[in-house]
């Protein structure tokens, strides 16, 4: 499917989505609450069939956090980038573990580094850092005088 078709299809699913076609792939921006239904449709719709979630990225935009999902369909080969926007004070988003199993570890990573809480995640714990670590190190306002030696 081309970008246009994808866009048309997605507007069907979620009329409020904002698209950005500048890059290589179609970018879709949505609110966090809209993510789970959209994800299900992306995975289950036979035409789209996005079965391969290859990257989950948390981004701290200072005003809000986003989670960027890169999806590909093995069968059709098309790629889509979904950006779900979360509130910074209370970053919560539904997990997609059941849809893409790889999300489990990836979401834990995002939780670990950004503090984004994935609702209904089976095992949301620190992944890389020790369990008693304080703060979310990849957020822009993270300070740690002891460990981070500034250049």
């Amino acid at each position: 499917m081309t970008k246009e078709e994808l866009k048309a299809k997605l507007t069907e699913f979620n009329p409020t989505a904002v698209f950005d076609e500048a890059g290589e792939w179609l970018n879709v921006s949505i609110e966090a609450s809209e993510w789970l239904p959209l994800a299900q449709q992306l995975r289950n719709s036979a035409e789209l069939d996005f079965d391969f979630l290859f990257s989950v990225t948390g981004v701290d935009w200072k005003t809000h956090l986003t989670v960027v999902y890169h999806l590909r369909s093995i069968k059709h080969g098309h790629i889509i980038v979904v950006k779900a926007k979360c509130d910074r004070a209370k970053p919560e988003i539904e997990t997609v573990c059941n849809i893409w199993k790889t999300a489990e570890l990836n979401e834990r990573e995002a939780y670990d580094l950004f503090g984004i809480i994935f609702l209904n995640h089976p095992d949301l714990r620190r992944l890389f850092l020790t369990d008693d670590w304080e703060g979310w190190p990849l957020r822009k306002d993270y300070v740690d005088e002891i460990n981070i030696i500034k250049l």
Partner: protein
Amino acid sequence: MEDNKTITQFPGSVHPAPGGGILVSKFDDVLNWARSNSLWPLVFGTSCCAIEMMSAAGAKYDWSRFGFEVARATPRQADVIIIAGTIVNKMAPVLKRLYDQMPDPKYVVAMGACSISGGPFFYNTYSVVKGADHIIPVDVYIPGCPPRPEALIHALLTLQEKIKAGGTREKIYLEEVKKP
């Protein structure tokens, strides 16, 4: 202009290297000969440097010529930890425990920039220990990223010289790691 002295110093705290200064007798010479020629390393490679450590074990560099090849999986039977790779905060207690669990006499070789000082990950990182000697006393440092296998062998030879000259190490107690 800043004081020249402080600039040439390393930007972090450095522990004095222990060892040396013990009177050795003929008998000790023999024991030290045995110790120095039978350094069994603990399998402890954490990252990239471990590959060069494996190269040193490999056919071309072959550290078995010096009797170092008996790499032990358990610290109980090892004599020397070759810290090959970055030590991060989460790993630090593990390293400390492994070191503690080794029977005396024991030695430590810090291989690569990471284990000397945090190396490539010294600045702007939140999880890297800035030098393995913050955790356990280190006998020999090898700079490089990663050091060549020959450099590792050279370091082990350097360690041998230290053992031959120094006898058993004096115990030093180090501050606990900052983050557990």
